[in-house]
Subunit: 767 residues, 2 copies
């Protein structure tokens, strides 16, 4: 009689190993031979039994599919009855399942030899057993969304006193005229965007920021809220809107005087007078102080002649000019009697009311762009274009009746930066617009991840991908960032709206920094959102495409981010030096004492190794850690710069060596401000449910930032490895916890359904 | 007589302070008052003198522009004659410039008081002085490109034995028919791409990978070189080409048998028979094992019925099908007598020769995408489509004459992964295509940065932006990565082309990992390139737009990167266990000894603090550091997984907790492989000039990776802060050095001019 497992059940001891061998690509050909060798060495088997067993692991003659499935059935039947520790124990269970085929003595003899074989083949029996045992219902696939707080209340908290403006904009962009679709034809797209802008102007959205006497609402905060809310919709619309009512209109308001307001503001606010803002030149992008366009004053007829001398002195990327603009604010060097009086601003007509381009003006189209193709960016060249005296925007400098230059600000440099300072609003509108785009992306990706199922335990339901730790790690920190940045930008806006003159420097530095911080965060957020939505994230109908490509240029315009971060850093360095300079002896003494205290309270071995969860979630710990980083980086930068110059490096070269260090100054400063604002906001929340979820988000924001900079903290000895590892673990745990709140937290953004893309709205079922 | 600086020169001591006060926004209004207070306290001044001085710092009445400029002239004249240490010393020089207005005694009295005032106002005199002294010619603005090696020889080194294929492709894509332009109209774009593919097929590029007996060239390596070189051109073309000749053709070759080769391969290679590869379903993207499409075998007429049961079981994103494909390889569960035999592959016609869609087949268009709009991705639904018996691709499983399932691989799981394994070529073609896109982006951004000037020392030439440290830090590491990945992917290709069966698992794991590594690297590289080109990087004419958006999906298709990294990690974990399993007692003893040796040689205080440049550039140090990281991460993962399961976690849940750790396993493994291949390549270079520059690039690659992971090294105590700081400094230094080689290093890629975008080619002058 032929040997079978049925008539010789003790041989079944090898079934688990055979199953594993054929199940996956786990064993190599050589290992199949090794297994055969092992069988040959078993003295308790007869030759016939050995030969039979070896037929089951003949690499060139696999078992039939049905036999293989029978093995699996045997394993499945027994795996949960008893609790085998490895494949040998499981094999014994199978061998003895019908009747005792292996005696206790046999087992004592066989077990150690088999265990050694398992280990030599690298089969970690224990884990494979765990795999066999895996349930169809696991923690991972049963997890999901929980509503633990009142979403509407959180929306109210976010919108604050701006909700009336926000709701009005949401209503407009949800209307049928504003239906979103991909318009590949650039000309058509631009007209659509212009039409949308006209509707907004008609609804009274265009002139919020202008004084009431010129048809406006004197509500600059409202203007920013409109910009931000519009950003849930098409971003070409936002930029066109911002160029017309922000850059163009505000350049008149900020740099001009009464006569200009009277003449232009009303028509700008109604879009009767479309215009642009012509600062950037092909050869001077971020270094706007270096513009080469000239405005030569002619005293005889009191006019200015605007000219772009060389080809690449032309004005480039000027929004609202390739098709629609009729006038622009031009930044040009004022020349009087061949003497250069620095950069000033002038209103220059470029088209008549019938859209004919005026003499001396050449307008080219910038052509197809990565995004924002609904905005008509143009290139402007001026060849001796004469404009009247009144077209000089003369708030900060004038040409007097004698044809002499006059200004309350003697330094050309300082005057120019004062002019730029009045235009800082753009650096508030852009980061807020960027934040809205990040929120939209997060809402799409999180709602998709909550529904989309992929992989799962054998035989069990597939798992919503947002339950995967890696997926959480990709999205949850950005959700926390969105809230942190929201509160921080509200703070910036309020500071700006209620500014005193002596605060302007600080506010400018803050705006420059927050613009960079927010736009880079949006870039990173949308990148993760795209990948987190897989192929769906690549389809234009799901919006991440446009959100990502439109905001891509946010890191460049209104000032290249790396350049702006240098600005912020310079301001911080100046502040640091002043603080230090103003200290008298006792001040310095206190400073030294403070530093020593930090060493005692924060850098002692207990603190640097403290992994207690309560400590890691302590707001005091966070603010100390953030401030410590900020202070150390700025003071080491001051010392380093001095050392470089002392060593004979030219100041310009030294500044160059310091570039990356400067970015760190700005980054650590901004982290601290955002942290403080988040802490402050928490202190104002009374609703228990909201407070709890916001505390979790806050902790994730704080600890994720510490985790991002842990190399620095380790280098400084501020934390030891054991603590940074505990932070990492807690970040992961917080991501897991917040995943339950994630959908409601995006619901609280209250983004119009029509802006959320196909996977979230009409085709939600397919996820 | 009124007091003036001229008639009372001692007062000029304050000119530098006054200049600084009005120059920038450096002093606040309060500080102007403080300065007035200071003047009031100077006992050596008369009241009239004080009053005069105070008029110069009256915040509401600034000096005239011309007076301000006179101050600057005085400073400029004196600053380089002597060597003042601060503003007071400079003031004294000015005061005494005509005649000695201040005596030695005066100076001794005044100087300390003034120095204190400077410090209290936070004016760091020394640095301001350094700024005044800044030369027009600095190190930073005089730096630039140097040619230190033979570019053509480096190109030869990169191309190796593939240069004949590469040059042929370059010639074709440089021809007028292949002129690149932005085509917004999707339909037009798709036809253009099809035309390009036809030209390539006519030139004999389509059938490289097929056996000679079916019209091919049996040159799979050549096929990959073609794919990579085409990727300098339009990436829609590359993907369409890859779908037709790679996915569609290779699925027949890899999964079919003789009868299929005879019938189809020739027509596929000439594009007579356009087709696609229908694996992905809406509900099953990365989890392809879960596809729901069925192929029911009908024994009576020996046919199969293909069906997509539920709506979202449809095949989605299928390239080459929305417009052009006539047949596709469909992956479906084979059902015989209502029994499921796992996923198998079938050839299913979808259109006739006249492009009419066949009965039972529904084809929808995926619509507009973020990129690759020249590829016609479609959605395929099959309603009981009957195909003949011969259309089953039957290399790994067959239905025999009795209508029974037969396969040499009993496990459905293993069989499916064996099938997928034969298709691993896609995971070689994609990372190589991604690399080419990164090289194109780098070439554009580096050449732009080399020419584009922005900012500079006062009065000096503006600086090429590539001379800025921050700009170098953004681009140089990616240039090093491009070379490292180039050598690594060549290694992968050679391994694949010369593979033995027992190596397949390792090669599959390597390909999955390198696909993720390369595509993520391209994503990051192109992001930096876009930002590094500022507004120019946003214009479609400069190509970064398309390169970025087209490769965006590379991180998702051919397997989502995070999923693929898990695959790689599983393989590494398996290998680790086998190594450990196979160790006998003496092996384990040796392992323990080795670990101890690591501690002695690498983790002793001398090594962990060694900042010697020679040590930091030592290849032995690098390979030890990389291997240490790899081994520690994999062994800690093995221990951690065991611990989680021991603690009662379900295996599926434990695997979920381990996700981020698994990514680290794969990442550290890939880093080590790329490092080894770069080291190996260096050892083969004989040309001195090339060797030197490649050593620099190699060092940057190695040290930049260590810098990226320094938090981990610090946590482990493998390095101390002093060493990681030295690494950062050396990375910065290497970036500075390589900047000189950067343009020639991109020239060596030898990318056709026509593929480099407007800023590099016809409009180069404008930079």
């Amino acid at each position: 009689m032929d040997i079978t497992f049925n008539n010789n059940p003790k041989l079944s001891i090898l079934i688990p190993v055979f199953y594993v061998a054929w199940q996956d690509d786990f064993l190599t050909k050589q290992e199949f031979s090794a297994l055969a060798g092992f069988i040959n060495n078993q003295e308790w088997l007869t030759k016939a039994e050995k030969d039979f067993l070896k037929t089951k692991i003949d690499y060139s003659s696999p078992p039939s599919r049905s036999e293989f499935f029978k093995w699996k059935e045997k394993i499945d039947t027994l795996i949960n009855k008893s609790n085998p520790a490895n494949l040998t124990e499981l094999g014994i269970l199978i061998a003895n399942s019908e009747r005792p085929a292996l005696s206790e003595d046999d087992i004592l003899k066989i077990a150690p030899v088999f265990a050694k074989m398992e280990s030599e083949l690298g089969i970690m029996g224990q884990e494979i057993i765990a795999g066999f045992k895996s349930k169809t219902d696991t923690v991972t696939n049963k997890y999901g969304t929980v509503k633990s707080f009142d979403v509407n209340k959180l929306t109210e908290l976010l919108d604050g006193d701006q909700s009336v403006h926000i709701d009005k904009v949401k209503k407009i962009i949800s209307s049928p005229e504003f239906k979103l679709e991909t318009i590949s034809d650039t000309a058509e797209y631009r007209e659509k965007v212009l039409d949308w802008c006209k509707i907004l102007a008609k609804e009274g959205m265009g002139n919020y920021a202008y004084p009431k006497e010129y048809g406006g609402k004197a509500d600059i905060e409202g203007y920013f809220s409109i910009m931000e809310t519009l950003s849930y919709h098409d971003l070409s619309l936002v930029i066109k809107f911002g160029v017309q009512f922000g850059l163009w209109g505000m350049s008149i308001l900020s740099l001009g005087t009464e006569k200009h307001y009277k003449k232009y503001l009303k028509d700008v606010g109604t879009l009767e007078l479309p215009g642009g803002f012509a600062m950037t030149e092909t050869h001077h992008g971020s270094n706007v102080k270096g513009v080469q366009t000239t405005a030569v004053y002619n005293h005889r007829d009191r006019t200015f002649t605007i000219n772009t001398p060389e080809k690449y002195d032309r004005k480039e990327y000027i929004g609202n000019t390739a098709n629609h603009g009729e006038m622009v604010t031009v930044f040009a060097k004022l020349i009087i009697d061949e003497k250069d009086y620095g950069v000033n601003a002038f209103i220059v007509p470029i088209r008549d009311k019938n859209k004919n381009v005026l003499e001396g003006v050449t307008i080219e189209d910038c052509g197809h762009k990565m995004g924002l193709n609904g905005v008509d960016n143009g290139i402007l060249t001026f060849k001796n274009v004469i404009i009247p005296y009144d077209n000089m925007l003369d708030r900060f400098s004038q040409v007097n009746e004698n044809g002499e230059f006059e200004s309350p600000i003697p330094s050309d440099n300082r005057r120019f930066f004062t002019m730029l300072g009045t235009l800082v609003g753009g650096r508030i509108g852009i980061p807020r617009s960027a934040l809205a785009a990040a929120k939209t992306g997060l809402t799409i990706a999180i709602k998709y991840g909550d529904k989309r199922r992929q992989f799962g335990p054998d035989g069990g339901l597939e798992v919503p991908i947002l339950n995967y730790r890696m997926h959480q790690k990709r999205l949850m920190p950005y959700l926390a960032n969105a809230y942190a940045i929201h509160f921080g930008l509200q703070y910036l806006t309020k500071r700006f709206v209620n500014r005193k003159e002596e605060e302007m420097q600080e506010i400018e530095a803050l705006a420059a920094g927050m613009k960079s911080y927010s736009t880079w965060n949006t870039r990173n957020t949308l990148q993760e959102c795209r990948e987190a939505c897989g192929g769906k994230g690549y389809l234009s109908e799901n919006r991440i495409d446009d959100l990502k490509n439109d905001t891509e240029i946010y890191t460049t315009f209104e000032g290249d981010n790396t350049v702006l971060m240098q600005l912020t850093a310079k301001n911080r360095l100046g502040e640091f030096r002043k603080q230090f300079g103003q200290m008298n002896v006792s001040g310095i003494f206190n400073y030294v004492i403070d530093q020593a205290k930090t060493s005692i309270t924060e850098k002692n071995p207990f603190a640097t190794r403290n992994t207690d969860e309560k400590h890691l979630k302590d707001k005091e710990f966070h603010i100390h850690a953030f401030r410590y980083r900020e202070n150390e980086i700025v003071s080491s930068a001051a010392k380093r710069f001095k050392r470089l110059v002392d060593n004979g490096l030219d100041a310009f070269d030294a500044a160059n060596v310091m570039h990356p260090h400067m970015i760190q100054i700005a980054d650590s400063y901004l982290d601290r401000v955002f942290l403080e604002q988040f802490q402050y906001k928490l202190s104002t929340i009374t609703d228990e449910g909201i407070k709890e979820v916001m505390e979790r988000l806050y902790n994730l924001f704080a600890l994720n930032k510490i985790e991002e900079h842990k190399a620095w903290y380790l280098e400084q000895g501020y934390m030891e490895g054991v603590k940074t590892k505990a932070v990492r673990k807690l970040v992961s745990q917080l991501c897991w916890e917040i995943r339950q709140d994630a959908v409601p937290l995006t619901d609280a953004f209250n983004i119009p359904e029509s802006c959320l893309g196909a996977i979230v709205t009409n085709k939600a079922a397919e996820a």
